[in-house]
C-alpha cells in the first residue's frame, strides 16, 4: 500500500496512509503516515464503533491537510479494546492464506 500511496502522490494527489504497520510504511517512504495499533483489517476500529472511526478519519484528514514535509508520521494513542491474544487470532483467516500455507509447508521439510 505504501507503493500505491507513492504512485498516487507522484501523479499529483496528496495521500495519507492509515496503517497498523507505520514502521514499514516509513521505511518505504510513504508521504504521510497515521499509525494505528489495531489488528489488520480494522484501520478504523471495530464494527459499530462510530466514535473511533470518526477519530481516526479526522486524524487522517488533519494529517493530510496539515503536514508540511514528506515522511510525516503520527501514531494515534488509542488502545485496542480486546485482549491482545484474542484480537491476534480474530483478524486471521479461518484457513491459512496460500502464501502462509506454502511457507509452513517449506518449514516442515
Amino acid at each position: 500500500m505504501p507503493v500505491l500511496a507513492r504512485e498516487l502522490e507522484a501523479a499529483g494527489f496528496p495521500t495519507v496512509l492509515v496503517t497498523p504497520m507505520p514502521d514499514g510504511a516509513e521505511h518505504l517512504l510513504a508521504p504521510r503516515i497515521l499509525g494505528v495499533e489495531f489488528p489488520f483489517g480494522h484501520a478504523f476500529g471495530r464494527p459499530g464503533d462510530r466514535r473511533t472511526r470518526r477519530r481516526v478519519l479526522e486524524s487522517a484528514l488533519t494529517l493530510l491537510s496539515g503536514s508540511g514535509a514528506p515522511g510525516t508520521r503520527v501514531d494515534l494513542d488509542i488502545a485496542w479494546p480486546q485482549p491482545r491474544g484474542e484480537a491476534y487470532k480474530a483478524w486471521q483467516p479461518k484457513v491459512a492464506s496460500p502464501l502462509v500455507a506454502m511457507m509452513l509447508a517449506r518449514q516442515k521439510r
Partner: protein, 168 residues
C-alpha cells in the same frame, strides 16, 4: 508515543515486514502539497480489503492466488460513495472477513466521510471510492504500471484533492 507495528502479527511474519524491500524507483521522497482548506477539498477513500460490489463487479481473483501463492490480483474496483454494507463482497485470502462484512466502515469509512461533509468539516467526497486487494508480490509491477495510473485517472475525473488510503 510510538505504536508497536507488530502488535498483532505472528512472530514468524516479522522479518517479512520489518524492512520490506524498496523498489529502485522509490528510493527518494515524493510529495504533493495539499493546497486547499479541508473544508473546500474533495476527498477520496481507498481500501486494500478486496471489496467489490456484488451485483455489478466480479470478485478479486482468489482462485489464481491459490494456485500461485505469491501472486495477488492487481485489479481495482470503484465503490459508489453511497454503498451499503450488504451490497459489498470481499475477497482477501489473508484476512478474516467477518468484521468488514458486518460493517464496511472499519475499512472504507464512506458514511463517516459523508457525515464530515454534511458538517462542513470536509468540502466534498468523491462519488466513487476505491478498492484494491492488498496482497501484492508478483502483482506489484502491474499495480504500478496499470492500476495506479487507472486510479489516478479516476481521481482526476472526480476532481479529488486528496486520498485517504487504508491497508487492510
Amino acid at each position: 508515543m510510538r505504536i508497536d507495528s507488530f502488535a498483532f502479527l505472528p512472530r514468524s511474519f516479522r522479518p517479512l515486514f520489518e524492512r520490506p524491500p524498496r523498489l529502485p524507483e522509490h528510493e527518494a521522497a515524493v510529495w504533493t502539497p495539499f493546497s486547499k482548506r479541508l473544508a473546500e477539498a474533495k476527498i477520496a477513500l481507498l481500501t486494500s480489503a478486496g471489496l467489490y460490489v456484488k451485483a455489478t463487479q466480479p470478485p478479486f481473483d482468489g482462485e489464481r492466488e491459490k494456485r500461485e501463492p505469491t501472486w495477488g490480483d492487481p485489479s481495482w474496483r470503484p465503490i459508489p460513495a453511497d454503498v451499503t454494507t450488504p451490497e459489498l463482497g470481499m475477497m482477501h485470502l489473508h484476512l478474516n472477513e467477518t468484521d468488514i462484512l458486518a460493517d464496511h466502515e472499519i475499512a472504507l469509512p464512506t458514511g463517516t466521510l459523508a457525515e464530515l461533509v454534511l458538517e462542513g468539516v470536509v468540502g466534498a467526497a468523491t462519488t466513487r471510492h476505491l478498492s484494491v486487494m492488498g496482497f501484492q508480490q508478483a502483482g506489484l509491477e502491474v499495480w504500478r504500471s496499470e492500476t495506479a495510473p487507472a486510479i489516478a485517472a479516476l481521481l482526476r475525473e472526480e476532481g479529488a484533492d486528496g486520498v485517504v488510503l487504508a491497508p487492510a
